[in-house]
């Protein structure tokens, strides 16, 4: 299976990349230093080229291509432009009324949504959700602590994963919508201090007898939560469809690093011996081949999604393949340029720190390998 892209999408990607270089990259250092988006980020976003109406490439392929184009400038624009992934859970688990209430405003009014799954005591093993939701009359009462909640402090609502019966482990997990300013939801740290993606607000939240209406449990209908609702599966599903896009963003960053490094080295060609110059040229070419392999893996996964085939293994392959390769590429770029490249005068060191998250969040490289391994050997892996 090969995936070709329409000329319209390629043109749009080029325009988006150009915009990201000119409008977003100049703010990259400021975002990193201030641990926040530029104050005028909404104005900057408003200057982005608009998605053409009639792209033939499909929603997910288009999304993937835009992730790489924006990541090329600097990835802060990516998280400024995105509204979070909480609404993906609403769409997966919600009743039609709930989708209307909590998904439609995201698409129509630019609502921002939070996603609260990870806790201090677990990350990869999502069956370990310890946050509890206890039914009390017309309410659910939520107690627990969450970390790494993307947009948690700024979202219009946060989708919180909690267990209604710890004895059921993964099967007891349900998803709940907690709207902004709901009493009992406390921001303990608005933005965690991270190695990279410092402008991306990841929030630590505490739920202290946080009381929400019964109808805020996703899937709530006819006065009950259907027993077969799988909150954990929905969480993993919403992560899975986004995984290839994250690889796309990583590839955008690494491509920018290669291009920037090649430009600087070209100016210094006379400083290198002929032998070393030949080696370096070969290395830069090999890096580009690596990125092309990553692109193919991600495109295949998203093309399948556009055809209605959810293939977690394809998504896992895409997510495992590019990020670690991209880290090594940016590392090598800094090594080729020498220690000056670790200074803040260049963005390479920032991109290197930003990139490290891609092999960790939304399913680590280890978890992706597990998914692929299970497709080969079954549950033994």
């Amino acid at each position: 299976m090969t995936v070709s892209l329409s000329k319209e999408l390629l043109d749009y990607a080029e325009a988006l990349k150009d915009w990201s270089i000119k409008q977003c990259r100049p703010h990259a250092r400021e975002v990193d230093r201030s641990h926040a988006l530029p104050t005028d980020w909404r104005e900057i976003m408003a200057t982005a080229p608009l998605l053409p109406d009639s792209l033939p490439d499909g929603h997910w392929v288009t999304k993937l291509v835009t992730y790489e184009a924006i990541g090329y400038g600097d990835m802060w624009a990516l998280y400024a432009m995105n509204n979070g992934i909480g609404q993906l859970v609403v769409k997966a688990l919600g009743t039609p009324e709930q989708v209307k209430r909590w998904n439609d405003p995201v698409e129509q009014n630019g609502w921002v949504t939070g996603f609260a799954l990870t806790e201090p005591g677990f990350g990869s093993d999502t069956s370990m959700v310890a946050t509890t939701a206890v039914r009390d009359g017309d309410s659910w009462v939520i107690n627990g602590a969450k970390i790494y909640c993307s947009y948690g402090a700024v979202a219009d609502y946060v989708v919180v994963f909690a267990t209604i019966d710890p004895a059921l482990r993964g099967k007891g997990i349900r998803a709940f919508v907690v709207e902004k300013d709901n009493p009992g939801m406390v921001v303990t740290k608005a933005n965690e201090h991270k190695l990279g993606i410092r402008g991306w607000p990841t929030t630590a939240l505490a739920f202290d007898d946080c009381r929400i209406p019964v109808g805020n449990a996703l899937g709530w209908s006819n006065g009950e939560l259907p027993a077969n609702l799988r909150g954990q599966a929905a969480a993993l599903e919403s992560l899975s469809v986004n995984r290839p896009n994250l690889s796309g963003a990583a590839i955008g960053i690494a491509q920018a690093a290669i291009d920037m490094t090649a430009d600087i080295l070209a100016d210094r060609k006379s400083d290198f011996s002929a032998h070393r110059w030949s080696l370096i040229s070969d290395e830069l070419a090999a890096m580009n081949f690596t990125l092309d392999r990553g692109r193919r893996a991600a495109l295949v996964a998203q093309r399948l999604l556009d055809r209605g085939q959810t293939d977690r293994v394809a998504a896992a392959t895409a997510k495992a393949f590019a990020p670690e390769n991209c880290e090594r590429i940016v590392l090598r770029c800094m090594q080729l340029l020498g220690p000056e490249a670790t200074s803040e005068e260049l963005l390479l060191e920032k991109w290197y720190r930003d990139l490290k998250i891609f092999d960790i969040f939304e399913g680590s490289g280890e978890i992706q390998r597990l998914i692929v391994a299970r497709s080969l050997v079954g549950k033994d892996a």
């Binding site: 069956s127 990279g196 590392l331 090594q335 020498g338 000056e340 670790t342 200074s343 720190r353 960790i360």
Partner: protein
């Protein structure tokens, strides 16, 4: 450390360095990075210990006298923090070069470096452009009227903005024999560009320096005849970076291994998953290999007083290997901690940055090629 047959003295040095590393350097790492300088009290502790001032008694100092023991000291200090260790040994190795290769004209400088904890000097060694630490485009020429002309560009120069003098390594303009000169930082024709904040190792306060300077004849270190011993000293400096990388890597792997025994997922400690423990094991094997390789070269430096091209080549390979191993080991540590490895509440992200920075210093693309991960 158990796999090395350390002498009693080396064992004592290792213990002292580990103690200072853990009790002083480790806790000061973030502060040193934020300030772009080693805190005074920390510097004083290192200064008093003699661990980073490798000028032996026969040269007027009281510090470590041999390469093998110095590497043991640096690895164990770097177990606490790479940046502070690199900063401290940068000034120390400048003193060593002056004491070992200098003349009477340099005695005062050496004495000041040995006795004044506020004095800073640095060796300007590396040049980037794939030259590693073994090849120099910087030229040193003795003019007809007996003056010395120095011309070149150096990178990763420690204390770029604060050293009183730089010991600059280059080659004789006509014979291509390695030479070194001492250059006061404020000399006309010295242009320094401090990097400011960097990915890591901020305590060393790196910068680039351009030299286009005319100096008095007594600026020269050593003689044409002892250029081989100068190469030996340069090899020691380069191995110092490798030892710091090894110490950083060792600490990160032990930290991650401990975390893996306590962190539970899928019903058991994650250390029980081979996908977690095997990468740690591989990192440990590589670290051991790097340490042994560096130790063997240090021993060669200690027993041979003449350098050789063969030895320089081995040092280049050892440094390239050790620093790359450190990048991979610290990456494995970050990966083992997962999300917790990405936040500053755990130190693994700092070690990852430190190892990466160390790997950019002495890097020759003909010794370490890019390979895709998958």
């Amino acid at each position: 450390m158990t796999i090395l047959d350390l002498s009693d003295e080396q064992r004592a040095v290792a213990e002292l360095a580990r103690e200072i590393g853990m009790e002083v350097l480790s806790d000061s790492a973030r502060a040193a990075e934020a300030r772009g300088a080693v805190p005074d009290t920390v510097w004083q502790t290192l200064f008093d210990s003699g661990l980073t001032m490798p000028v032996p008694e026969e040269l007027g100092g009281s510090g470590i006298g041999d390469a093998s023991t110095l590497l043991v000291a640096l690895e164990n200090l770097a177990y606490g923090d790479a940046g502070i260790t690199l900063a401290a040994v940068s000034s120390g190795t400048a003193a060593l070069l002056l004491a070992r290769h200098g003349t009477g004209a340099h005695d005062d400088t050496v004495k000041r470096l040995l006795t004044n904890p506020h004095a800073r000097s640095a060796v300007a060694l590396y040049e980037a452009h794939g030259r590693g630490g073994a090849e120099f485009a910087t030229t040193i020429a003795v003019t007809d009227n007996g003056l010395v002309r120095l011309s070149g560009h150096k990178v990763a120069v420690p204390f770029a903005d604060s050293a009183e003098a730089f010991v600059v390594v280059g080659v004789d303009a006509t014979t291509a024999i390695p030479r070194a000169v001492v250059v006061p930082r404020k000399s006309s024709g010295v242009n320094v560009r401090p990097y400011g904040p960097t990915l890591a190792l901020g305590a060393a306060a790196w910068g680039s320096a351009d030299f286009d300077v005319t100096l008095p004849a007594d600026s020269l270190l050593g003689t044409v005849e002892d250029s081989d011993t100068l190469l030996n000293s340069v090899s020691l400096l380069r191995l110092a970076v490798a030892a710091i990388a090894v110490g950083t890597a060792q600490r990160s792997i032990e930290y991650a291994a401990h975390y893996a025994t306590e962190r539970v997922a899928f019903g058991r400690p994650i250390a029980t998953f081979q996908g977690v423990s095997f990468p740690l094991a591989e990192a440990q094997m590589r670290i051991d290999a790097a340490r042994l390789e560096c130790a063997e070269l240090a021993a060669a430096l200690d027993t041979s007083h003449t350098g050789s091209i063969d030895l320089v080549g081995k040092v280049s390979a050892a440094v390239a290997y050790a620093t790359q191993v450190a990048v991979e080991a610290t990456r494995t540590a970050v990966q083992t901690l997962g999300g917790h490895g990405y936040i500053v509440e755990h130190p693994v992200e700092l070690w990852y940055r430190s190892a990466t920075s160390l790997s950019t210093v002495d890097n020759d693309p003909s010794l370490s090629a890019y390979q895709p991960v998958l």
